[in-house]
Subunit: 261 residues, 2 copies
């Protein structure tokens, strides 16, 4: 049996049992994967307000009830403390542990935020014949800090992080139309063309991920990125945060096509 | 000079000075008007989470900082306690006062929620040649309690309220396509055709607003309604809430066309 034929629920159970520990890219094709940020309740209002004010980089798919390790809407029979293959635990903004489950760290005051991911719109781009270079080249998508200030909320403020995919101008138009229909996974691009116009220092040296080839006749196309909320949370150095480890996402029961407007 | 030629800022100043006290329907054509719910900070997290879980009936345009009477994004130089022509004050779910400003009730722990309103999509319908019956007949839109449960959040739970506009099936299709592009003002219809299918008791006796004529060959089309959040808040009988009085909205600086996706 091919692991890719498993349902999201079956896949989460294998992850829970420690039988899948690798990055989740390619698992459960067609289903949305989500970023995780877990914060104490005390910080949850400011963070939820930050996401409300910044829906482009921070499209929230679900917020758990305080203390609950289950979800109500996007993943049936889920254990947030175990169903992601790899977690990171931060104390006062410093990485304190990286581990395969966070049961021992769980507290009754924790709130989990599941945030949409551009993986979901990449399958729509590929279906439409728009290339996704980092998939072609087997790399992580290049991501950049920009000069675009997010709207602040309470303890949280900072600049937007963007992801970049190179394509021809014609493909960029098609990609804009397609992703504009998917606001719950970042929506339309935030910029096409000039990296300096949005405060990117060096296109060839992304702050996160890996550089990909830009072919002659292609322009860089930039989307708001789900690394933004993690980055903003870390900047505020909260006493305690849990996140997924990069590339190790929560596989949800939501189909990517259901994230279209 | 015609009052309709004033900018939103000029109009809000006349309202602030007590020179406009009437319902805001028809003022500042082309600009979005917003529903108001003001709650103590203690309840704000649960309410913000309720809106996150129920974006169709509760599309939040802006949330103020706690205690602040100004807004950052949708209305320049605004005084939330004075810039609406008529307010309602509720204590423990009971109407305690109706007044032209709420300065004397203001507290440092209050958070204001500005929620999108279907007025914004009605102008798009009219432009597309889709009739809006209650405008033709000079009435308030009919609104109904449904059997559709909203997703609960903390202290808040309850059923969705919908508004109804009668139109031909062909117009209903056009209206669906147009309003689907405006998720920040309720988006696409929630149902077309059979009131009983969504738990409406009597189509001809709406719980809020007024009945309008349904012509032969027309079907009722139902949209999630901004009365839902007020209704849900009232049901939980919070110690203190301020809302706008029905029809007396906040006029924002946001153009309706900018609420399209």
């Amino acid at each position: 049996m091919d692991i890719k034929d498993l349902t999201p629920l079956e896949t989460r159970k294998l992850i829970r049992e420690g039988k899948i520990t690798a990055p989740t890219s390619g698992l459960c094709p067609g289903y949305a994967q989500a970023n995780l940020v877990v914060l104490p309740k005390e910080l949850a209002y400011d963070f939820l307000l930050f996401t409300q004010r910044n829906p482009r980089p921070c499209p929230v798919l679900e917020v758990s009830d305080a203390g609950s390790r289950t979800l109500r809407y996007i993943a049936e029979d889920c254990d947030i403390a175990k169903d992601i293959p790899r977690y990171r635990v931060y104390r006062n903004g410093v990485l304190a542990d990286e581990c395969e489950d966070v049961e021992k760290y769980w507290r009754d005051d924790l709130v989990s935020f599941l945030i949409g991911c551009s993986f979901s719109f990449e399958s729509a781009l590929l279906e439409a014949g728009v290339p996704v270079r980092q998939i072609e080249e087997g790399r992580n998508v290049p991501m950049y800090k920009t000069g675009i200030a997010c709207a602040p909320a309470g303890a949280f403020h900072g600049n937007m992080v963007v992801s970049m995919r190179p394509m021809t101008p014609d493909q960029a138009i098609r990609a804009s139309v397609i992703t504009a229909q998917m606001p719950r996974v970042h929506g339309a691009p935030i910029h096409i063309g000039d990296p300096a116009a949005i405060g990117i220092k060096d296109l060839y040296h992304p702050e996160f991920g890996e550089m990909v080839t830009i072919k002659p006749g292609e322009v860089p196309v930039f989307w708001p990125c789900g690394v933004t909320p993690q980055n903003v949370v870390m900047d505020s150095k909260p006493e305690f945060v849990i996140t997924h480890a990069p590339g190790h996402m929560l596989i949800t029961d939501i189909k990517n096509v259901d994230l279209r407007n």
